[in-house]
């Protein structure tokens, strides 16, 4: 399949090309938004056309009988294993956002009429491992995630890839965070060696009095973009943190819309970006406060450190506000490591590379330390060091 063939097609042609029927509303939404290109605002800084123009083999998704495991294992878009007793099954998505900004959100739903549905019971803590084993493939799947009211669940997401190449992964969540509950999602993704590229398109509904804590740790190289839309009901809260540590010529980042719909809803969005080599980091984030969202509090901040003269950060924090009764702030800074701090560490016998690593981790630490589980925190730090030393090995 070559996704660029979907460009400028009418509904009938799209139905034929995608082999679908009875999904006219979704097709129309996709057609209206159009296949993303560098002219699309949300994909402007991400080389999406190159990814869409490649020829991919398509995979057949056949649900498997799940084997018991300590984690949910999804291999090439198919769930293979799950903890015993956890409700993980295949089902058509019942609630698709008809006002998402990302055309690939709709393409994802069109390509995956059956989604992976995960229901988190009680105060569950679960790890989801995404594994990719196919080269030159288009791997497409969507996950629908529900938690229970008044409960506090945590999901740790991890990604592994075999020795593959030229694969494109389109995936994403439709999360429904129930009233008076908390859902924490901690994503850790280390990409290297151009094994696969990824576009992840999410929709998060946060119900009344609920908390969404979304932490994303994107490390290494390659091409990946996450597009996130969050809708906040009355007194709902989202805490979205994003750490980027990129090297080589990677392009990765977040394009987001946080929409305050309910009164007294609050949002905090913090991005920390460390860019090495010729990497490009993307933080294109909009907070929209609707007429209905009086007494909103919204805070948005992006900080970037450039470790190389060719590294580049695109930071676009934006507010779109329709009411007066609110507190909102946003800002973005880009800088380099402080030479005074670097010298201080060196003056105590700590080598240049080690001193830089300490400062880079110090910069990232405020986000890493928000991961409550020390095992996962340690894993993020270890991966962080692995990526750091891969870049700086010649200086050690």
């Amino acid at each position: 399949m070559n996704l660029s063939n979907l460009k400028n097609k009418n509904a009938l042609e799209l139905n034929t090309l995608l082999g679908i029927k009875d999904r006219d509303i979704l097709v129309e939404r996709f057609r209206t938004l159009g296949l993303p290109s560098k002219k699309s605002e949300e994909y402007r800084y991400f080389n999406v056309e190159k990814l869409l123009e490649q020829e991919y083999k398509t995979l057949t998704y056949v649900p498997k009988t799940l084997t018991p495991s300590d984690k949910i294992k999804i291999v090439d878009g198919v769930v293979m294993a799950a903890p015993q007793g956890m409700r993980v099954y295949s089902e058509a998505c019942q609630q698709i956002d008809m006002d998402h900004f990302d055309p690939l959100y709709y393409l994802g739903h069109l390509l995956s009429p059956q989604t992976i549905k995960i229901e988190l019971d009680g105060d569950a803590e679960v790890e989801i491992e995404h594994k990719f084993t196919q080269s030159d493939a288009l791997i497409n799947y969507r996950i629908v995630l529900y938690n229970q009211a008044n409960r506090h669940a945590t999901v740790y997401e991890n990604f592994v890839a075999e020795e593959i190449k030229n694969t494109l992964v389109l995936y994403g969540y439709d999360m429904h965070i129930a009233q008076d509950s908390t859902l924490r999602v901690v994503k850790m993704q280390n990409m290297q060696n151009n094994r696969y590229a990824m576009v992840a398109s999410h929709k998060v509904n946060v119900a009344k009095n609920a908390n969404a804590v979304l932490k994303s740790f994107d490390l290494g190289g390659d091409q990946a973009l996450q597009l996130l839309k969050v809708e906040l009901a009355q007194r709902a809260h989202v805490d979205a943190g994003h750490l980027l540590y990129l090297n080589e010529d990677s392009k990765r980042g977040t394009v987001s819309q946080i929409v305050h719909v309910g009164e007294h809803s609050t949002s905090k969005q913090e991005a920390k970006n460390i860019l090495d080599g010729e990497a490009r980091g993307i933080f294109d984030a909009l907070i929209r406060v609707e007429h209905s969202a009086k007494y909103t509090k919204a805070e948005q901040n992006s900080k970037a450190i450039l470790l190389h003269e060719k590294a580049y950060m695109v930071a676009k924090p934006q507010l779109e506000i329709y009411i007066d009764e609110l507190e909102a702030s946003h800002g973005a800074t880009t800088g380099q490591l402080d030479p005074k701090q670097l010298f201080y560490l060196q003056s105590r016998g700590i080598g240049y590379v080690e001193a830089r690593k300490m400062l880079v981790i110090a910069f990232a630490n405020t986000l890493i330390e928000q991961v409550k589980d020390s095992r996962h925190q340690e894993r993020i730090k270890e991966t962080f060091e692995e990526v750091f030393y891969a870049v700086h090995k010649e200086h050690i």
Binding site: Y344, L345, Q346, S347, G349, G351
Partner: protein
């Protein structure tokens, strides 16, 4: 007695400005050398030059340390070889844990000396006594490096680093600035503890107050980028009475 550090005709620029203009100085092992001088004489520039600070540009002369020219040596190499600067204004580094930083520095030095690295428990045991002697609260080591520390706490932390790293040449740049009398006593006690007849001290100061606590062997007067007079401790009283203007070049 042969010197541990010999500074010959040192010329240093910061930016476009020539600060040190042919400075000569020899540090003897086990001795306390005090450098005194008016504002802008080049005292802090000298300390920066000795530790390889990025601000300074050596335009002439040599720094010979233990018989080796260290003009081109990196700051971390100088530290590993035993040169230590207690900063006038220690920098704050949020996110770098004080204990982790110090253990990393100590283990870098131990590795350089071919010794085994210390684990966290061994390191904490080593640090406990020093903390008590310096009157430092134990939570200071679990905080970020110098972040939110008072002026006195920062200076005590510098001395803690000195005690742990056990350097051979110790440069104290305005160690007494911003210290109350109790902090000055604690810091001085830490410094005096390091006086073992082998280590050399270079105490850079405006005022004689610190020299009441750390007895110097030599007083050097630095003015307009050069040492213009070297004498015994009796010179302090003369400086107190007549000021730097009364000192004539030898």
């Amino acid at each position: 007695m042969s010197s541990v550090m010999k500074i010959e005709n040192l010329q240093v620029k910061i930016g476009d400005k020539q600060i040190l203009k042919g400075l000569n100085l020899e540090l003897e092992p086990g001795k306390v050398h005090a450098i005194m001088g008016p504002n802008g004489a080049g005292k802090s520039t000298l300390s920066k030059a000795l530790v390889g600070h990025y601000d300074v540009e050596l335009t002439g002369g040599d720094i010979i340390y233990k018989g080796k020219n260290i003009n081109d040596m990196e700051p971390e190499e100088r530290a590993l070889e035993g040169i230590f600067l207690s900063f006038q204004h220690p920098v704050e580094i949020p996110g770098v844990n004080n204990a982790y930083f110090l253990r990393t520095a100590l283990n870098a030095k131990r590795k350089h000396e071919g010794k085994e690295e210390l684990n966290a428990a061994e390191f904490l045991r080593l640090m406990r006594d020093h903390l008590e002697m310096l009157g430092m609260k134990s939570d200071m080591i679990s905080r970020s490096l110098n972040e939110g520390f008072s002026g006195g706490e920062k200076k005590r932390n510098e001395i803690l680093q000195m005690l742990i790293l056990e350097p051979e040449v110790i440069i104290l740049d305005e160690i007494d600035s911003g210290l109350d009398i109790d902090a000055l006593r604690a810091v001085s006690e830490g410094i005096n503890k390091m006086k073992d007849g082998k280590r050399s001290f270079l105490v850079i100061t405006h005022y004689s107050r610190i020299l009441d606590y750390i007895e110097p062997d030599y007083i050097h007067v630095l003015k307009e980028g050069r040492i213009i007079k070297t004498s015994g401790p009796e010179l302090v009283a003369q400086l107190e009475e007549h000021g730097y203007d009364a000192i004539e070049e030898e």
